[in-house]
Amino acid sequence: MYNFEYKKAGSVDEAAGIVGADDEAKLLAGGMTYIPTLKQRLAAPTTVVDLNGVGGLDGISADGNGVTVGAMARHAAVAASAEVAAAIPALADLASHIGDPQVRNRGTIGGSIANNDPAADYPAALVGLGATVQTNKRAVAADDFFTGLFETALGQDEIVTSVSFPRAGKAAYMKFPNPASRYAIVGVFVAQAADGVRVAVTGAGPCVFRVAEMEAALAASWSADAVAGIGISADGLNEDIHASAEYRAHLVTVMAKRAVAKAG
């Protein structure tokens, strides 16, 4: 690991000030991706700004509209939250399958979505439920937040503070995990979301995406059979040692079917 300066931020404003003044400074949340990245010398920040000392960012609450999860809420906390389980059980279920127990004890929703790993689970929940990302500057719809491979709409001095998920009807997430890392080779979140049926796919492409044809089919008939015949093109999908683009395309349909079946 290259050396860096370490600063433990006491507030979101302080952290934003540091990264705003220095393009090479980087925010640290749970560190479950960023510390391995540092260890592999894939990043060489001047300053690592630790958000773990910022109070008030890890709250989880639910009301009639939905669930709001603080940016520093750990995956384990979301998975164990009775409020989340009651309001949007598919969200608690998704969180309970991220990585492994030790990753879930440290990893945060804010860190996960700001990193926007193409194989991360949370982007599928945000897009699948039509969530809203709150930052220190504005509210951003999930559909506009994830912009590309490891790219988001966040500005340099913009920090995620919470994510609000509207309540949904039936919803579920199914993933085909990499057996070692538990990252999604393909993960599909289906939901009768507040604004209509949504089908969000992670792991398959460079960035989470929706499948309009499946959404229309499920809106007409909510059943696994409705999506069974809908394939997606392998063009532009991810290809690596774990799975070819064609295999990922195949898995999108399989996981979509299983997710609808799981949702009931």
Partner: protein, 156 residues
């Protein structure tokens, strides 16, 4: 540039000089001589380095030492009561829950976190909990048996 980190390890107040980039596992092993915590993969996947930080299991290779300032850390060295093995350690001994033994400290620290959250886990729950702990010898069967027996012993 080094900074001093003060924390509690296995019940004792300790401090160590570390660089910002020093990992918790490096500080434990190289700074404090607690070599029971192992480094297996160094890519945050194998779980040989699992320790407890403020009561929760974490991968010590994926946390900066400086982040443990003020924390209460427990390693495998802090699990036994003097010469008396912890019931979970005893269960690994009795059920031969190891082959080469390299992954064992992480397995035990992870198992203790499981039992804290779920005192009576099913075999399936044990296996699912071990997602983050790899045994290169593939000796999972006896590890699962050991954790089941250890949990039972801890329930008394």
């Amino acid at each position: 540039m080094t900074v001093s980190v003060s924390l509690t390890v296995n019940g004792e107040a300790v401090s160590a000089d570390v660089e910002p980039r020093t990992l918790l596992v490096q500080m434990l092993r190289e700074g404090l001589g607690l070599t029971g915590t192992h480094v297996g993969c160094d890519t945050s996947q194998c779980g040989a380095c699992v320790v407890h930080v403020d009561g929760e299991s974490v991968k010590a290779c994926t946390m900066l030492a400086i982040q443990a300032e003020g924390a209460d850390v427990k390693t495998i060295e802090g699990v036994a009561d003097g010469d008396t093995l912890h019931p979970m350690q005893q269960a690994f001994h009795e059920n031969h829950g190891l082959q080469c033994g390299f992954c064992t400290p992480g397995m035990i620290m992870s198992a203790l976190d499981l039992v804290k959250n779920n005192p009576d886990p099913t075999e399936r729950e044990i296996r699912e909990w071990l997602e983050g702990n790899l045994c290169r010898c593939t000796g999972y069967h006896n590890i699962v048996k050991s954790i089941d027996a250890g949990a039972r012993a801890m329930r008394g």
